[in-house]
Every structure is written in C-alpha cells, then in structure tokens.
Symmetry: none
DNA sequence: CATGAATGAGGCTTCATTCAT
DNA sequence: GATGAATGAAGCCTCATTCAT
C-alpha cells in the first residue's frame, strides 16, 4: 500500500485520504495514529502537515466530502422519479447500493460523529439531517396521497434508514446475494413487511 | 494515606462499571481514559487495578454481562408465546423496550466490537449471533407455517434488527412518543410495511 | 513452589527468605517485585509486611545472614590449619566449595551492593572487607615466612578472590568436573600458575 | 515550543549513549529510568524515542558496540605476537588495560546480561564466548607446545578471566598502583602463581 | 497473622504537533 | 514539499507501602 517515497503534490493528498479512510474504518479515529497514516502513505509524520492542518481536519474533510457526494448523488437518483411510491423505490435502491459501494465512508460518518468538535459536528449532522429529510418528505407525500400508512413519518424514516444502512455492516460482495437482490428484498419489506402477498 | 472512609469492595466495582459504561458510551472505548474513569469513581488510577486486570478486561466484562442479561431476558420474554406470529410480536416489543432502557449497553456492544482483541471478539460475537439466530428461527418458522413472506430469513432478520436497534440512537425518553408507541408502530411496519391497511 | 495458603509463623518467614533469594538472584533486586514474592510464597502482598518492614530490609536481612554464616564458616575451616601454605590451601578449598553451594547468596552479595542504602552498604561492605582481610593476612604471613612471592598482597588477594568467586558463575553441579576437581585445579593455579611442574 | 538551539541528530545519540552507560553502570539497567536519562541529556523523555525504539534497544546497542570494539581490539593486540607464551602475555596486558579504561562497559556487559531478552541474550553471549575462546585457544596451544601446565583449559581460562576482570571492580586511576603495575603483577601470577621465583 | 482495597509516585511508551533544514 | 528531531501532555500499567477489617 505504501506509496513510493518522494511522491509529490495532489497525489499525496489523495493517498492520505484513501489511507485515512481505511485506517479510521479499521481502527476508529481516536485509535488510529498519524504515524500509521504516514507509514501507509510512505512519508514522514511531519510531512502530513503540509496537507492538512490538524488530525481533526482530516476527519472533517473526509466526512464533508462524503456527505456532499451522497446528497448530490441522491438528488440525481430521485430527479427522474415522479410519484411518492416511485420515489421511495428509487430511494431504497439508491441507498442500498450506495451504502454497499461506499461502505467505509458511510460507516465512519455514523461512528465518528462523536469525534468531531462542536462546530464540525453541527455542520456534518446538518448535512445528515438534510438527507433524512428527503426520505421523510417522501413518506409524508405518500401519506398525503393515501399511498402509505405511516403513523409518525420521522420514526418510520429512521426505521427504514437504519434497516437499509445496516446492509453495510454485513454485506459481502461475493456473498450469497447480489446488491440488487438485497435492494429488491428490502424494497418489498419496506412496502409490504412480512405480510404474505 | 489510606483510602477515604466510603466505597468498599463490591460497591467500587459497581461504580466502576457504571462510570465505565457512561464514558465508553460518551467518548468511545479508545478515546476514554482510565484517568477519567478513576476521577468519575473518586479513586486513584492505580486503584482501578484492584478491580480489573486491564482496560480491555473492563470492556469485555461490560459486554459479556450485557449479552448474558440480554439473552436471558429474551428467553423469558419469548417463552410464553406460542405461534411464530405471536413470537415475532413478542420479540419486537422486547427488543424495542430493552434497547430503549439499556441504550448504552446496546450501543457499545455494537460500536466497540472492534476494540476487542481476537479472543474476546469471538466470544462476544458468538453471543450476538445466538441472539440473531432466535429471530431468524422465528422468521423461518413463520415462513414454514405460511404466515410470513420472507425471501432470505437472515437478510430479513438483519434488516429488522437494524431497524429496531436504531431506536437507541434517536429515542428520547421525554420525546414525542412513548416506548410503547414506537414498539407498536415498528410492529406494524414489520408485519405490513407501508402498505395501507 | 507456592506454599499452601494460610501457613503461619516462622515457616512463612523462611519461605519469604527462600523465595526472595531466588527472585533476587533471577531478576535482580530492583527488577523483582513484592507481588512476585507474595505469589511465590502464596500469600497476599500486604501480608509480607507482617514479616519485614520494607523491601530494603528483606535484602539486608538476606545479605547479613549470608555474610555472618560465611565468616563463621571460614573461621571454622581455617582454625585447624597451621602454616600459611596450609591455611591458603584450606582457604581455597573452602571458598570454592562454599561458593558453589551458596551460589545465589554469593552472587547477590556482590551484585546488589548498589541496591543498599548508605547505612546498610557500610555494614555489608564492612563484613566483606573482614572476609578479604583473612586472605590478605594469610598472603602477608606467607610472604613473611618466605613461602609466597607477592608484590602487593591486597591486589593478589583481589585477584585470587575474583578467580575463585567466578566459579559460581559457570559451575554446573552435573558438569564435566566435580567441585573437588575445580578446587584442586585452582589450588594448583594459585600456587604455581601455568608454569609446568 | 521547538527544540533548544544546540544538540542535533547524531550528537544527541552520542550523548544518550554516554549518559546511558553512566546511569546503567551507577544504578543498574532496571533501576535506571528514562526520566533520568532524558534529564542527563537535556531533552524530554519522549524525545529519546527519536533515537532508540525501546529501553531494551538502548542496552543492546551499548553492549553490542562494546563487544565489537573489544573483539576487534583484542585481535589487533594479539596479531603481532607469535608463540603461545608471548600471546598470553599480550592477552593479559590487553585485557587488564582495556578493562581499566572501559571499566563501565565491561561491568554492565557482565552484570546486565540478565536484563536482555532471549534473542539479544543469545547474540551478546555469543560474542562473549568468542572472546573467551581466544584465551582458551592460547592455553591449549601453550599446553600442546609443552609450555603451560593446564588441567582443563576452559576452567583455567575462566579463572584467569575472572581474576583479570575483577580489576575493574577495585582499580582506582589515582590509587597506589598504575595499570601497568597491576598488569605486570597479574602476568606474573598467571605464569607462576605465588611460588617464590 | 492474613486480606483486599486504597494511595501516590513513577515506570515505559505513544501521541499530535512544531519547525529548522 | 519532505525530513528528522524536538516538545509536552497523556496513555496504560506497576510499584512499594498503608491500614481497616
């Protein structure tokens, strides 16, 4: 994994981000050290500070980049869909596949919120709320249209999100099921629960 | 020179467990220090070692105790139930309320698995699997009895568990809904999804 | 090695001395801990303080007891000898065999002098000097009688003592040579060096 | 915040080695602390770790360096000598003077063997054996040439080495005798013992 | 006389960060 | 932009010792 010594410029920053993602995912932000990061990248510890100001900034950078991509990709996935039901279907498919592909970003974005200092916490949690609100809005629209039965839209949304997000905990790329199959099964569960068709 | 009047033997151990639970929940196991723990308990750092051998043992002790109680309580909650449907209903109600009440134990039992060294990891994950298998068995029985439609019982179980467990992330005791209301809504969602009744 | 728990009285002190000797010999006084000692004896750390006042006292006790026995035994061994040559022969034999049998006491009495606090250091070194003076006196008498050629009696004594004491570093009870054979060879070397007979 | 003007790179390492040698000699390896070492060198404790990886490595480094120099110097001292007798004379002179000059290195190389972990122990003891074998070889050659009377060459070598090495225990540079005088007296004792000429 | 829990100091080591070169 | 050596704080853990029970 270690890059060749003497690598320069933006490629170093990329390597730092990739190695940082891996290390934070594997050990947790607090438990991972800049020594490990430097070793993985193939530079000395001190050199890292040419690329970020502080360990906290490394984390925030990763999380912010992730959330921006996530929100942007969701908008792209939802745009073509018209009705609430169709939108929900699109949402589930998008969320499952995205969370399978960006497993590590997603995980640290949940687990390392508590490592953020207050100002950064506010920013990232705000972005996450924006994402949740997309789903809540869909549910509320579906209820208004008489298509969904939802007692509390937020609670339902949290439940659905938790279920879908859980995927990145246990899904294995070469396991029994494909991402599509998982998405399909969860779509059915979201719409119909366990009730026999 | 000697210890302060109060806090003898087992009472100290209890205080350590309670404070440890709180600190691990709040900051994460790696980020929490024995200095903090000792301060919270009101003893010197070194004195902690009269009650556990290593920081790792503190964590394992908490997790093991939690998992034992969880498994035992589940068995008690399921015993009276007969059919698969009834059992599932009991499972959901039990899981939601238990996870609301023991919010912190549950959370660290998910989030700190990676802080366990290999031997301890095996033990705790084994106990967690036993818990999951209870639900999988219920789903399979319900499918066999023609009461549930389930493509993959394990995937369904993981989805349900994730949804229900998510509760301990956002639930606030004095919030909009009571634990019973949440349990009721999630029971409906598990059985019927969003499909209008 | 651990004694049965609950042992009482002077037998405990004996066990402490024996275990202490072993541990100090194996690890050094600073490196050995009272926890190890207590474990070896089969009691709790705190209980040790019913038998000595301080770790330092344990060491001093061992060294003092050793030096007293050594001096007393030497006197017994030398008494019957008359002439300087005969006395030297007796000294060498005594020193070699004693140092082979009490290997550990002898070793720590050399190596742990620096662990003694000033007052105790003075006492123990004084006793050691007394032992050395016995040999110096023999050498001086032998020179006066014209039987030994010695430039500086103290330097010669130190050399002889070092040579003989070295035995406890490499001698193995079941090795190539018996203690008697070693004593014989060293006696010859002391008297004649390497000069062919 | 940054370091004080002086003391760069290799100069710091030299200072650490010198101070380490002194402290280990004075207090023993286990009893000496890195706090003391850092204070002696004039840097922070943590900074020591820019120069060695563990306390153990500091010790091994010192001992290895010493043994290499010792072996190399011995070879230089012996080279010009031809016969066994002449070689033995050179050996004694070399050993006594070297051990007087490098008193501290020699001492810790004997006394701290037990502080080495198994791998390092093997290495250092191996080097010491090589040194001893030089003397054993000389004795055996002398015996073969009919010039020395030696019952067991190894035992004789250990005795001679112990006698000569003892010098670094009691020799004082400004004492009664010069290093040359000591070497001369010991040479005579090795060859002729106490037998009057 | 033994126990177990406490103290407070100190052990080695790692950390994020700084900065002259 | 990279290096290597520095800082100072903090990490976990062990120590000898004390003392109520």
């Amino acid at each position: 994994m270690a890059r060749t010594a003497g690598s320069h410029g933006p490629r170093t920053m990329e390597a730092i981000n990739e190695a940082g993602l891996k290390l934070i995912y594997d050990h947790g932000f607090e438990a991972m050290s800049l020594r490990q990061l430097a070793a993985e990248v193939g530079i000395q510890v001190g050199s890292l500070y040419n690329h970020f100001a502080t360990k906290q900034d490394l984390l925030v950078g990763l999380l912010k980049r992730h959330m921006e991509t996530l929100l942007h990709s969701l908008d792209e996935a939802l745009t073509p869909a018209a009705g609430a039901e169709e939108q929900l279907r699109a949402f589930v498919a998008f969320h499952v596949t995205y969370h399978i592909v960006r497993k590590r970003e997603v995980f640290i974005c949940y687990s390392e919120l508590r490592s953020l200092d207050p100002a950064n916490y506010t920013v990232i949690v705000g972005m996450r709320r924006a994402y949740e609100r997309r789903l809540i809005a869909i549910l509320e629209r579906g209820r208004a249209e008489g298509r969904f039965t939802v007692e509390d839209a937020a609670v339902a949304a949290y439940g659905i999100l938790a279920m879908l997000t859980g995927v990145c905990t246990w899904f294995r790329p070469n396991g029994r099921l494909t991402a599509q199959q998982v998405a399909a099964q969860y779509t059915r569960m979201v719409f119909d629960g366990l009730r026999p068709g």
